[in-house]
Symmetry: C2
């Protein structure tokens, strides 16, 4: 039984972030990949939508310049023949501040012939923002139990 | 072919929110359901973890008191035999302010015998916070292209 494309991509992606070895992950990304990380692009310039392998590799390179992955736990996962979705909790270190950052994300991935063709990531962005700026953001209480 | 549990749950859930008809969705939730919406619980008291059907129905009731669903688009979806995951974009109306709110979420759902047993939701929370408080939250730029 062949290994699912997700596991190969996940290993190569984490190696790219932590060891700045981009070649493995580059070999697993389709030239016409559609990519989006939904989150505050004002805070992280590597969030947002990208089209094509070169643009995506640049995003991964920027991530590698900003974070290391200390650990990750997959809390939910679904695997299809050529697709995968998971909810993950990452423990990161910010290289700029050496601060630990913990963030939950969800991703949906599509593969074709082992190559990533579509990737959508949602980030628990408010939590990430507060940890990154390093202070709590005051919020009015909008919805309360009635 | 039987309809997937997700479609039944989705219809009943939206009916509960928009018409405050809780009975349909109550019939589709397992007594011991595990439920979590990851997001800023300071802003929305119905975010967070809940255990058991009564607690979950109370969450749904609180949502119905705060929002109407104008429309939703499923941007990504995976269906398993007894599981489902999707990324969705919701157009909501805040009942308090009558303001339109647009928010992206990802959910992972597990069913058993047609009943929801586990539900995990991640919200693009920063975007939601800015729309809800009604003003942009100033952020320092942390990560820039180098």
């Amino acid at each position: 039984m062949t290994e699912h494309s997700l596991w190969r991509f996940s290993r190569a992606f984490h190696r790219a972030i932590n060891e700045r070895q981009i070649a493995d992950v580059a070999a697993l990304i389709d030239d016409d990949v559609e990519w989006a990380i939904y989150g505050p692009i004002d805070l992280f310039s590597f969030f947002g939508a990208r089209q094509g392998k070169d643009a995506v590799l640049e995003v991964i390179r920027q991530m590698a310049e900003n974070f290391r992955v200390r650990r990750f736990d997959r809390e939910s996962i679904m695997l299809g023949v050529d697709s995968a979705a998971s909810m993950m909790r990452y423990s990161l270190t910010s290289l700029d501040s050496s601060k630990p950052i913990s963030v939950r994300i969800a991703h949906f991935a599509q593969f074709r012939g082992g190559l990533l063709t579509r990737f959508r990531v949602l980030v628990d962005s408010f939590d990430l923002v507060e940890q990154t700026v390093g202070y709590p953001i005051h919020l009015p209480r909008i919805a309360v139990a009635q």
